[in-house]
């Protein structure tokens, strides 16, 4: 697909997404929009997808493993919640979250990537648990296990985003910018280098690609996406405590990206959609839904390690051949 077509497709998707929750009955279209809960879930999906895009950059493009994306989300969320309480405007909090996560990513990745392939996974594992312990135990700053309550929704150009749909549009706009930025990176020579170092780091290195530096950049950028997603998560939920930023949720981020299709552009969106909407779909099975999910993931891995996007691509290819 040419660049222009990609951009056009992106804009159409964006417009459709913007319309999903909106009540169009006033415009004469018999479409009532979503309930508040539906809008909330849709917003949560976007926030999750932003973090998952970061994981995809690290896992799917740079071929590393990160077990700390939820911790980066936590960094962004706490920074935004706490700084926000002290009157720092949301814009600063949001950019600050990204920058802090980026710097922490560099600090973690630099020593880990000196060594061998899986050491980044080990270091992020340790970091993930350590960050969670700090969130829990430094109650003076983070509110400890009782969390931080009543986090305000941002005010943009004097416009309050209390309304669920308005906040959704705000998050959608940010998600669109971040998606475009990632797309741009992946289209640039950087993206080519990322793909190369995932497919064959040895050959890439011999062609002058500084594998260590590019891996580090991918990790730090991916982590920054986590931080920025966290910065949106805090005002969305209006309450944060340490539990969504523990090791378990970090593992689920990896799971979600691989299930969606790691190394594909839309994989994180699909994976995040499954993770956020799955409990809704399988509500009828209540107690069994996690078991169903687990078995489905294992079967998917065995048959289609390319994830859901890979699965769809497989079938569309098949059909077009017939």
């Amino acid at each position: 697909m040419s660049t222009r077509h990609s951009l056009l497709l992106g804009l159409v998707l964006l417009a459709l997404l913007a319309l999903i929750p909106a009540d169009l009955t006033n415009l004469g279209i018999p479409y009532p929009g979503l309930k508040r809960y539906g809008t909330y879930i849709l917003t949560l999906w976007l926030v999750t997808a932003i973090a998952a895009m970061g994981v995809n950059l690290i896992v799917g493009y740079a071929g590393q493993e990160t077990l700390a994306q939820a911790a980066f989300l936590g960094i962004g969320a706490y920074l935004t919640a706490i700084a926000g309480k002290h009157g720092v405007p949301f814009g600063l909090c949001f950019i600050g979250s990204g920058i802090v996560a980026f710097i922490v990513g560099i600090a973690l990745g630099f020593p880990a990537l000196r060594v061998q392939k899986h050491y980044l996974a080990f270091v992020t594992l340790a970091f993930s648990v350590l960050a969670w312990l700090v969130f829990r135990n430094e109650a003076e700053i983070t509110g400890g296990v009782m969390g931080v309550r009543d986090i305000a929704r941002p005010i943009v150009f004097g416009f309050k985003l209390r309304n669920a749909v308005h906040f959704y549009w705000f998050v959608l706009a940010i998600a669109a910018v971040l998606t475009f930025a990632l797309w741009w990176i992946l289209q640039s020579p950087w993206g080519r280098a990322f793909t190369a170092l995932r497919e064959n780091p040895l050959r890439a290195e011999s062609l002058g690609v500084d594998v260590r530096l590019y891996t580090l950049l991918a990790f730090a950028l991916g982590s920054a996406y986590g931080g920025m997603a966290g910065s949106l998560y805090a005002p969305l939920v209006e309450f944060i405590d340490p539990s969504p930023f523990a090791l378990g949720p970090s593992l689920l981020f990896m799971l979600m990206v691989v299930v969606g299709g790691s190394g594909t552009f839309f994989g994180p969106f699909v994976g995040a959609g499954v993770a956020v909407l799955l409990p809704e779909w399988l509500r009828a099975w209540e107690n069994y839904y996690l078991m169903i999910y687990a078995v489905a993931v294992m079967v998917l891995m065995a048959l289609f390690p390319g994830g859901l996007v890979g699965l769809v691509a497989f079938f569309t290819r098949k059909r077009s051949r017939l």
Binding site: V59, E65, Y119, V129, L130, L202, L251, V258, N287, A294
Partner: protein
């Protein structure tokens, strides 16, 4: 001083359990590049096999324990090898990580849903007597845990170093390609490591459950600690995993007593980061070449 000794004994006893789990971790990693994220659940589950045998089928304890070990070797060894790992071999580490992660969820949820959502007491073979001497109080059960797990480790070491099959397994672990050229039945050796891993996990489960109770969520912490122990000791050496397990067990107790109970989990992890910075091959691990 007595406090310190008391802490050391308690730490070594739990450390021995971590070592059992960590050994399995390194064995699987070496022979099949499997990072088993369900390792903690592998230690959680066998106790429930025994409980099911006892409570549902009224089988006496010793037989139930043997059955639990056998069931683990079948399900967590052979079935795991062929149904979960088999289809994913040679596709890199990531699909296996994801699949074992899903497996851990499945195991936890199944036990919670079909057996028990609460902690269950678990009978012990060794009487839960406490001996006091010189201000120390040590329970026989705890000593038994230490002795049995060290015996299991000793037996494994003897098997790996002293028997033909054991040496073949080591060859497979170090370099499957070369081992295959040398005529080692690599496939069978890989299966053996899975069976040994399952057996060690079952032993750990039976030893730890009388003291820590059997619960579906027990694997979460255990798996993490076994993972940390394996890395600290050296991911490519069995004796590294043993040292790592014991060290992390002791360190956890000392940290809780002398540093901070709130940050006790942090100490082994900080050790982990330091190891990666200064001795990436682990305490007892082999140094690996910059790969070609």
């Amino acid at each position: 001083m007595t406090d310190l000794l008391q802490l050391l004994i308690a730490g070594l006893a739990t450390g021995a359990i971590y070592a059992l789990a960590a050994i399995g971790f390194t064995l699987l990693w070496q022979t099949s590049q499997t990072i088993n994220f369900a390792q903690g659940e592998f230690v959680m589950l066998p106790a429930f096999f025994a409980l099911i045998a006892m409570n549902w089928f009224h089988i006496p304890l010793p037989i139930a324990l043997v059955l639990a070990v056998l069931a683990s070797m079948l399900l967590l060894g052979a079935v795991f090898r062929y149904a979960v790992v088999g289809p994913l071999l040679g596709r890199g580490v990531l699909p296996l990580v994801i699949s074992t992660l899903a497996l851990s969820v499945l195991m936890k949820e199944s036990v919670k849903e079909f057996v028990s959502a609460q902690a269950e007491s678990f009978p012990t073979l060794v009487p839960d007597l406490v001996i006091h001497f010189a201000g120390l109080s040590v329970s026989i059960a705890q000593l038994g845990m230490l002795v049995i797990s060290l015996a299991a480790i000793g037996l494994l070491q003897w098997f790996l170093g002293g028997t033909r099959t054991g040496r073949q397994m080591q060859a497979t672990a170090q370099n499957p390609t070369v081992a295959r050229i040398l005529g080692v039945p690599v496939e069978r050796m890989i299966l053996y490591t899975f069976l040994i891993n399952a057996a060690l996990a079952a032993i750990a489960s039976i030893l730890i459950s009388p003291i820590y109770l059997a619960k579906f969520s027990n694997g979460e912490t255990l798996g993490l600690i076994a993972f940390v122990a394996a890395i600290v000791g050296g991911f490519n050496q069995v004796r590294g995993a043993i040292a790592g397990g014991l060290l992390v067990g002791v360190l956890d107790n000392l940290a809780a007593a002398y540093v901070s109970t709130a940050y006790r989990q942090a100490i082994p992890l900080i050790l982990l980061v330091l190891i990666i910075l200064f001795r990436p091959q682990g305490l007892l691990g082999r140094k690996e070449e910059r790969a070609v």
